[in-house]
Amino acid sequence: MMNMRNLKKLSGVILFASLLFTAACTKTEFLPDPEGAQVPFQSNATQTVEELLAASPAKLYYSAWQKSNIKNVLNQKGSKVLYTAFVPNDAAMQSAGLTASKIDQMSAAELDDFILFSATIGQVTGDELKLKSDNFMVKTLLENRDLYVKYYENPESNQFDYYAYRLYVGLKGDALLVNGKNMGKLNYLPATNGGLYLMEKTLEKPTKTIIEALRADGRFTMFLESQRLADELYLDKIASDMEPLFGYKPDPEETMMYATQRLFYQKDWDILSPYPGYGTNITISTLFAPTDEAFHKAGFQTVADILKFNERGASSIHFSDMTFTDEGAYPMDTIYNYHRNWGRMFQPVTVGGDKAISNATVFYSNELSPRLNEYLVSAGGNPSIEYAYKMPLEFSVNNSSIQIKVKGSEYPAANVIEGDINTLNGPIHVVDHLFIPKGFKLN
């Protein structure tokens, strides 16, 4: 009897226990096992920029570096800041006359000019240059505090930025181009706090404005003189028109204040002074300068020929008392506008007189290619996007020679015979024909 009872109890217990077991079964969704291990990261940069400089074949540059103020400038930006330097090697420094003794003689300001012009905050890696089809705009550490450009990141004021010298860096094959000039084979060394490019030539800082460069060159006498004289005649005519309204004939300076729609001879080729306190005082764009030969080929042998040709349009010039500004232009102004200002004279205007704002148009010769043909020369601003102004010039490349003409024109295309004359107002490319638009009559 005891056995029976025990057996019963036992079976009951077993039953109860098995029930508990099954109820206690937790059903977890199984996760697959982890696979593989993290691929270890090895940076290919082990030294800082300074260490790389010390070990590189750019000892002259490094000595100038150490003498200059660049370390303080970099420290001001922060302790973690990355920077990139464009370093000419010793052979390049020697051939540019920057020997060790010359460096010793250079003043602090000159050293800063030289070193700060070659360095920038932020990384510019060789891979990034390979991916970019246009030039990489590098803002160097060298500023010119007399020149003001459009506001972007000035911590002091949101009305302007200080002008910083720029390097437009690109690649052509495996050569490094800075501001359109070949600096030798691409040799980028990454560093833990940035990187450096070893170059086979020195950098040239632009010092002249366009007008100074054109005057000093000597090939553009007709281009300069004809515009100067045309401006004088224009101002004279406008002043005569203003005389009955004002009671006296204003002098050329005063007349220019009212004649706002004309692109005067010096207007975008120089520095505007005095500075009005906001906005820019220097226009930076690209100029296609025609040589005197170009004028000869178009049938103008002397400046007098050009002025005579202008006379046929002189009747359109007048001072309007409705808009209280000047109206009309000479025929040659059309051609000059394509050389100087990308033909913006003909950009679409809204009913209210609004135009799109000028877009960035700094192009060095390695960027002058058919890719530019769809570029918007002016866009944005108050008008809607339909009023944007597409590139009116047509670029083509034949066996590494660049040809430019106005779209649809029947006149011969111009060749760029020398490119990348760098100035404070941007690059000058020398062309051998005039840009004459479609349907323009030269006789």
């Binding site: 009913v351 809607s384 339909e386 009023y387």
Partner: protein, 353 residues
């Protein structure tokens, strides 16, 4: 006692099995007060004309029988808009075509609002007549808020999901105007009020294409509208076709490759906040904006056309509207025809330069 507990245990375990699965069943409760479809229409004071039509074509018994049916019932006012005021007016119409049109207003299935895909556009459902109609539902606005508008072949269903014993019913505020296998060309030729427009299309070589597959949307100006522009049968016959741009003078009323109901503008304004369509009329540089929807102040479905000489042109635009709802949305086999009470282009503007 023990037997009872065992039975109880077995019963419990059977219950476990039974309780495990649940099919989602939603059944409408049978309600003795709900009538079958034809009887409902008969007893409805605003559907007397529709019932008279059902009687005339002989659908009453079918619609009282086993369903399921979805009845799209136009109100009496809807029939009035077509010029039908009494049951006797139906006798003036061709019996066969009346049967087809009434058959088009019944679907041989139960179609409630919830069965139509949300924001569905031009969803086809077969009708009793055989052709499939177009259902467009504006259910959700872009922020996910409810809109609750439903259109059948361009006509709004103002009251929806009325339960029947053998289906459901939606009330329409216009009569749907299907023309079945009739092409736009045949339709226009039969309607004398567009005769000047038809002559113009023939003169400029735009007529033949309207007999073949489109789709087209035609905004047909009536003869009065053409006369206001200075175009009559007489002046047309005197016109030298080679001196005028036919694509501008008459082609501007043709929208190629699209079939728009007037209700489409209202539907898209709801689901996408954009009920208008901009296009260049074929072979012209002009720029047309088509907008449609419930127009202020009557909030009846209407459409408008605004014609400019170019997309950024500052010339004053020409605007006309088609707001006689009953004359719009004529559904043909290859497109739609809408009525236009004003013209767009004067002959002087269309002279070739």
């Amino acid at each position: 006692m023990k037997k009872l507990t065992y039975l109880f245990a077995v019963g419990l375990s059977l219950l476990f099995f039974a309780s495990c699965k649940h099919d989602d069943l939603s059944m409408a409760k049978p309600n003795e007060n709900v009538r079958p479809a034809a009887d409902f229409v008969k007893n409805n004071y605003e559907m007397r004309l529709f019932y008279a039509a059902l009687q005339k074509v002989g659908y009453v018994d079918q619609l009282n029988g086993k369903g399921p049916f979805t009845v799209l019932a136009p109100t009496d006012e809807a029939f009035n808009n077509l010029g039908i005021y009494t049951a006797a007016d139906f006798d003036k119409m061709n019996a066969d075509s009346l049967k087809k049109v009434i058959g088009y207003h019944v679907l041989p299935r139960r179609l409630r609002v919830a069965d139509i895909p949300s924001n569905g556009i031009d969803v086809r459902y077969a009708t009793l007549e055989g052709t499939a109609l177009y259902a467009s539902a504006a259910s959700l606005n872009p922020n996910g808020g409810a809109l609750d508008e439903l259109y059948f072949s361009g006509v709004e269903a103002t009251r929806k999901d009325v339960p029947m014993a053998n289906g459901t019913l939606h009330v329409l505020n216009q009569v749907m105007k299907p023309n079945f296998s009739k092409t736009i060309q045949q339709w226009l030729a039969q309607h004398k009020e567009y005769s000047v427009f038809v002559s113009g299309l023939k003169k400029f070589g735009l007529w033949e294409q309207l007999a073949v597959q489109g789709p087209f949307t035609i905004f047909a100006p009536d003869n009065k509208a053409m006369e206001d522009l200075g175009i009559t049968e007489l002046s047309l016959s005197a016109m030298d076709a080679s001196k005028y741009l036919g694509d501008l003078l008459f082609g501007v009323y043709i929208l190629y490759d699209r079939h728009f109901f007037t209700s489409d503008g209202q539907v898209f304004a709801g689901i996408n906040s954009n009920g208008s369509y901009n296009y260049y009329p074929k072979n012209t540089t002009y720029y047309m904006t088509f907008g449609a929807g419930k127009m202020y102040p009557s909030f009846k479905l209407a459409y408008s056309l605004v014609l400019r000489t170019g997309p950024t042109s500052n010339d004053p635009p020409v605007a006309v509207s088609g707001d006689i709802t009953a004359k719009n949305d004529n559904l043909c086999s290859n497109g739609l025809v809408h009525h236009l009470a004003g013209g767009l282009v004067r002959p002087e503007e269309a002279i070739k330069r």
